[in-house]
Each structure stands twice: as structure tokens, then as C-alpha cells.
């Protein structure tokens, strides 16, 4: 058995996404929202891609969405994920519009399908970082 646990890559927030990770640490999902057109976007940048305004704030979203598409990793690309295969990486379309990549956890890959409803949960990496992941919503 492996005695050494190889750590998974730790997110290294870019300056423009720091507020996203600060909110995640508090178990909130917050995305940049434009003060002018009111739309959300992701990943965080300093300019609204909908109207090019630079006036925005990070605002909480519902954390609910659906699976637009997904893949299941069988190959181990990095040793840190050797214990996880097969695992699912999904493209989540949030109810507020933006899409983001995450894992679907708490379910067998065979049970995952496009359009399933999901909601955010937080996986504490350490005291600085919590990683937003998703589970299937109760029907």
C-alpha cells in the first residue's frame, strides 16, 4: 500500500480570481457580476465579456446548475489522482449562465448524465483553499 499521499495540485489564484477563492474558503460560490449589464461571467477577468464594462463585483450565485457535458478519467495523468480513477470532470452550466469545470462527487460515473441537476459542495483543501465541487441534486 502507498504510505505517502501525493498532494493534488493546489489552486494558485491569479490576482483577478482571488475574490473567487476567498469566497470559496467561506463556502460561498461568488462570480464576477457586471454593474452595468447585470450578467455574470467565468473565469474571472477584469472586463465584462458581455458589455466590456470594467465595473463589477463578485456576487454570490445559487450554486445550482446542470451538467452540460462530462468525461470520465480512467488514465492517471498525475500520480496524485491514482486513487481517484475513474473520476468525473463535468462542465456545469450554472442557473445564472456561466459554465465552469468541476468534479461530480458522491456518485458512480455510470450514473452521471448530461442535463442532470447539480449543486455545489465545498472540498476543503487546507486552511487557505476550498475547492467548489458538485453533487447531484435530490429529485
Amino acid at each position: 500500500m502507498m504510505s505517502d499521499v501525493i498532494p493534488k495540485p493546489k489552486p494558485r489564484p491569479a490576482p483577478e480570481s482571488l475574490p473567487y477563492w476567498q469566497a470559496a474558503r467561506d463556502h460561498r460560490l461568488a462570480l464576477p457580476k457586471c454593474d452595468d449589464c447585470g450578467k455574470f461571467w467565468f473565469p474571472p477577468t477584469r472586463t465584462c465579456p458581455h458589455c466590456l464594462s470594467s465595473r463589477f463585483q463578485f456576487s454570490d450565485v445559487s450554486g445550482k446548475g446542470k451538467i452540460y457535458s462530462f468525461v470520465t478519467y480512467h488514465r492517471v495523468y498525475r500520480p496524485a489522482f491514482a486513487q481517484d480513477v475513474p473520476y468525473v470532470v463535468a462542465l456545469i452550466e450554472l442557473d445564472e449562465g456561466p459554465r465552469l469545470l468541476s468534479n461530480i462527487i458522491g456518485v458512480s460515473p455510470d450514473e452521471v448524465a448530461c442535463e442532470m441537476k447539480v449543486e455545489v459542495v465545498f472540498d476543503d483543501y487546507d486552511e487557505e483553499i476550498s475547492i467548489p465541487k458538485f453533487k447531484l441534486s435530490k429529485v
Binding site: 489564484p13 457535458s69 468525461v71 478519467y73 480512467h74 481517484d84 460515473p109 475547492i131 465541487k133
Partner: protein
């Protein structure tokens, strides 16, 4: 008036490909990507009956980290170039090089341009145990900072597999359909002595292959190759005096869905749609006129969705289209007749151009030649899955 410029009138058939060749393909240890490319260019010049001093333009590309690549190539060819640069549209760059060559030549910026691409991808990861380990244990500082690695999201296989899953969901496409693409191209590779893959592949073998990132298994993925290819472009009226039957450049088109592969429905309706429409318009042709297609096959699914986007069948009917045997030599649309990136060698679309030219020359033995082929459509796809180029070639 500038507004009157129309690609069909100004550019169609004005230029031709007069030389083409590859380097050694597959596993060529100890040879850099630059030297592979120079090997391909030298062979292409021989093919055309030209000397390096006849070339006054270089549009080349190699591994993404190579700086001022075209300068390094021209230096090795021992020439100064009037018109010379490197593109950065990934697998869409190679067709774009040919198109830029046509525009430059048509408007008097150069006379004869060499376009090429070379890589040493097999050697980088397989030539030694050290190379393999270096590849698999790249430091974290080389990964994306966030929004990917923490979820175990790595590699182009997964990015394209997202499109495959969505297509399967929307249209009932199956792995049997993807498998038929892998099997058909392997069958073509067996007819090509230069192809990397030498063993037959059955649909049973396809399903028995280990899964990589589902829905893709190992036979859905293109090869890691050492490979280079080159073509030489010049004016059609100049081409008549050269060694080979010229192959006319009839049309090209481009689309870059730079909002992103994950935006809109770009992973199921790709940039091939608008790129193809533009190329058809320039050539004055449509999908029914195409005798053979050389499609950018980084992954099986990408062939299926591009066939739809190019109008060879309707969106969502790609599975039935490939299941009909259409892609095979002798089928309705012989496709990737050299074996493609799945079974010949992966050279970021450059070998698709080489094969399209060769099919238009009618110099292949009967078992490789698409009978009476007069029009070839070639695709290039890349960048972050969003850049697309289309080239239409015709027999002169």
C-alpha cells in the same frame, strides 16, 4: 474599390501546389523537429524540381515553444526570404499558411513560398526513460494555475471528449460510430508503407482498447509522432513549367470560435461550419462536389462532427453516415486515405494537406487512389479547440 474584393474572383485557382513531401514519419529518434522539417522541405523541393534559391517565402511552424521558427528554418535552407513568418493557430495554422501564401503571391509579395510543419512528439516522450518520466512529472508550475488541475483535468483528450459526450447525448451517437472511424483509417494506413500503424484493427479490438478519458479509449486518440510535411506554393501559370502536375488551390476559409470550446454549442457545432461555408463559396463548390476529404482527426469524434459541419450529412446524422462505410476507400466519401493522424502519423494537419495534393495528382497505385478524384477538402483544427481552417484543392 476595396469593398469589391471577392476571394472567389481574386484568388480562386490563381496559385497551385507544385511540390509536396514528408520527412521520415513515426519514430525518428535523434532528429529535432527543425531537422525533420528541413528534410520534408528538401524532399518537397526535389518533388517540384526546384532549388532553395527559387524560394522567397517561408511560412512554417513547429513545437509551440519554438521562437522565430521561420527564421530558423530559412537559415537551415540557406536562403533569405522576402515573406516569412510563423503562425499560432495550432492545428489550424498549416492550412492558414497555404492561404496566406496564396494571398502574398497573388498580390506580389513573394513568388514561391514553402509552407511546412514539423514536430518531434514521439521522441519527446518515448525516446528514453528519462524523457518519459520528465513528461509525466512536469512540475506544478507548468500546469494551469487554477480551474483545471485541482479537478484532475489535464490534456486535450478530455477537452475533445466533452464534445463527444454531448454529441452522444443529443443525437444518440455511439462508440461503435467512433470505432468505425478508427477502423476505416487503420485500413487505409495498411495500404500506406510510410504509416506508423502496421496491424489491422477490428471493431472488437477498438472496444477492447483501454479507456483513456471516456468516452474515448486508446483507439479514439491520435498518435504521438515525429513527423514533418511541406508543400510549395506558386502561381498557377508558373506551375505549368514544373515537374509535377500542379494542384490548384480553389478555396479556403476560416473560423475561430474564440468565445471558447466550452461556450455556446461550439463543441458540437464546430468552427468547421463557417470555415467550410467560406471555402465552398470561394471555390464555387459544395459538399456534393467533394471526392475525398482529409479531416483533422486528433480524435475520432472530431471527424464525425466535422463531417456534419461540412454538410456531408446533417447535424446529428454523422453516426449513420460513418456506419454506412462512406469513409472507406471505395465508399461515398473516402476520408483520411493515408491513415490520418489516428494511424499514419500526427503532424498537426500537415499530412492531410500532403495527402490531398497526392490524391489530386493521380499518381498513387490503384489500391490507394480515390478513383477519378477531382476535388479534395482538407481541414485543420486546433488552438484551444476553436481555430479552424478549410482548404479545397482541385485537379488542374
Amino acid at each position: 474599390m476595396i469593398s469589391d474584393i471577392n476571394p472567389a474572383r481574386e484568388l480562386r485557382d490563381t496559385c497551385a501546389i507544385v511540390g509536396t513531401a514528408t520527412s521520415r514519419l513515426g519514430r525518428v529518434p535523434g532528429v529535432s523537429s527543425l531537422d525533420l522539417l528541413v528534410e520534408a522541405i528538401r524532399n518537397a523541393l526535389d518533388d517540384a524540381g526546384l532549388n532553395p534559391s527559387d524560394v522567397d517565402g517561408v511560412l512554417c511552424r513547429g513545437p509551440d515553444e519554438s521562437y522565430s521558427h521561420h527564421q530558423l528554418v530559412a537559415e537551415r535552407l540557406g536562403i533569405n526570404a522576402r515573406f516569412s513568418t510563423t503562425l499560432t493557430n495550432g492545428g489550424a495554422s498549416q492550412i492558414m499558411s497555404v492561404a496566406i501564401a496564396v494571398m502574398a503571391i497573388r498580390f506580389g509579395l513573394a513568388k514561391t513560398i514553402v509552407c511546412g510543419f514539423g514536430r518531434d512528439t514521439w521522441s519527446r516522450t518515448h525516446s528514453s526513460e528519462e524523457a518519459r518520466v520528465r513528461n509525466e512529472t512536469r512540475p506544478e508550475s507548468m500546469l494551469a494555475r487554477e480551474f483545471g488541475p485541482e479537478y484532475g483535468y489535464f490534456g486535450a483528450t478530455a477537452a475533445h471528449a466533452f464534445g463527444a459526450t454531448r454529441h452522444m447525448h443529443l443525437y444518440g451517437t455511439t462508440r461503435d460510430h467512433f470505432g468505425e472511424i478508427a477502423v476505416a483509417f487503420r485500413e487505409h494506413a495498411l495500404r500506406n508503407p510510410d504509416a506508423s500503424m502496421k496491424k489491422p484493427l477490428s471493431i472488437g479490438d477498438y472496444h477492447a482498447g483501454r479507456l483513456i478519458v471516456a468516452p474515448f479509449g486508446m483507439y479514439d486518440c491520435s498518435l504521438r509522432s515525429d513527423a514533418a510535411g511541406a508543400v510549395i506554393v506558386t502561381r498557377s501559370d508558373h506551375a505549368k513549367d514544373l515537374k509535377q502536375p500542379p494542384v490548384l488551390i480553389k478555396g479556403f476559409g476560416f473560423q475561430n470560435n474564440t468565445r471558447g470550446w466550452f461556450a455556446d454549442d461550439n463543441m458540437v457545432v464546430t468552427a468547421a461550419k463557417q470555415a467550410g461555408e467560406a471555402a465552398y463559396a470561394m471555390a464555387g463548390l459544395g459538399p456534393r462536389d467533394v471526392d475525398t476529404a482529409q479531416i483533422y482527426d486528433c480524435f475520432t469524434y472530431m471527424v464525425l462532427t466535422q463531417l456534419e459541419d461540412y454538410g456531408f450529412c446533417k447535424k446529428g446524422e454523422g453516426g449513420d453516415f460513418v456506419a454506412s462505410g462512406a469513409l472507406r476507400l471505395g465508399g461515398a466519401l473516402p476520408c483520411n486515405t493515408s491513415g490520418g493522424q489516428l494511424s499514419e502519423a500526427h503532424c498537426e494537419g500537415m499530412l492531410q494537406i500532403v495527402e490531398g495534393v497526392r490524391q489530386m495528382r493521380h499518381t498513387y497505385p490503384e489500391n490507394r487512389q480515390v478513383k477519378d478524384a477531382k476535388i479534395a477538402l482538407i481541414s485543420g483544427h486546433g488552438g484551444n479547440q476553436v481555430c479552424h481552417s478549410t482548404l479545397i484543392l482541385g485537379r488542374a
